[in-house]
Symmetry: C2
Subunit: 119 residues, 2 copies
């Protein structure tokens, strides 16, 4: 029941594209992830995802457009929509999504994380 | 599918204890609320709630203790736990909770909001 300080949690890791669980509620999880470079194109058939930018900025690419998301902004990607996050410089993101969400969705590969650390 | 800028949304209202819906996903809602003063003691029998401080700080009182939550920190209050948020100065909070959540939980009264604006 303690509070979570985002900076304190972010100071505990430095790897990219590897979400850490920092909270759980109502079958959903709160995750923190540092991103840099291009992720893989993927979609989630059964989960909507929220990306909140804690630090930096990133671009969410869709097949037909792109949205730049900056600090203190969030973007919801609804289920079934193909997307690819891209960060030219490192960015820190807070995710809200169902506990069942696999980071690479329907595109399993090198970047897929089947188990996530809780920090 | 557009992004949400928290400052832009917060600039659209000034009333206290009246959450505005700014996002929906997976049966959950993202809300913004400005708080000042003491809320009412209440609990939610079926919903966990996340309070993320966007600006300022507040105290979450429980029956047996108190937690001060500052900017860039969040607190999860699990279902069934009596709580009362208190803010000596105005604070801006982002909430993440099930769409079914009533702001005053099991304590309906003057502060209860049965319908919330989407902004």
């Amino acid at each position: 029941m303690g509070k979570v300080n985002l900076q304190e949690k972010l100071s505990q890791f430095s790897d990219h594209w590897s979400p850490k669980i920092v909270g759980e509620l109502n079958g959903q999880q709160v995750k923190l992830v540092k991103i840099k470079g291009e992720f893989v194109w993927h979609k989630h058939d059964h989960e909507d995802e929220l990306f909140f930018v804690v630090k930096g900025s990133f671009k969410m690419e869709y097949r037909d457009r792109m949205v730049e998301v900056n600090e203190n902004e969030f973007l919801i990607v609804h289920r079934g929509i193909e997307h690819r996050p891209v960060a030219d410089k490192e960015a820190s993101i807070m995710l809200f999504e169902p506990a069942s969400t696999l980071n690479t969705g329907d595109t399993e590969g090198e970047l897929t994380k089947h188990t996530l650390d809780k920090i």
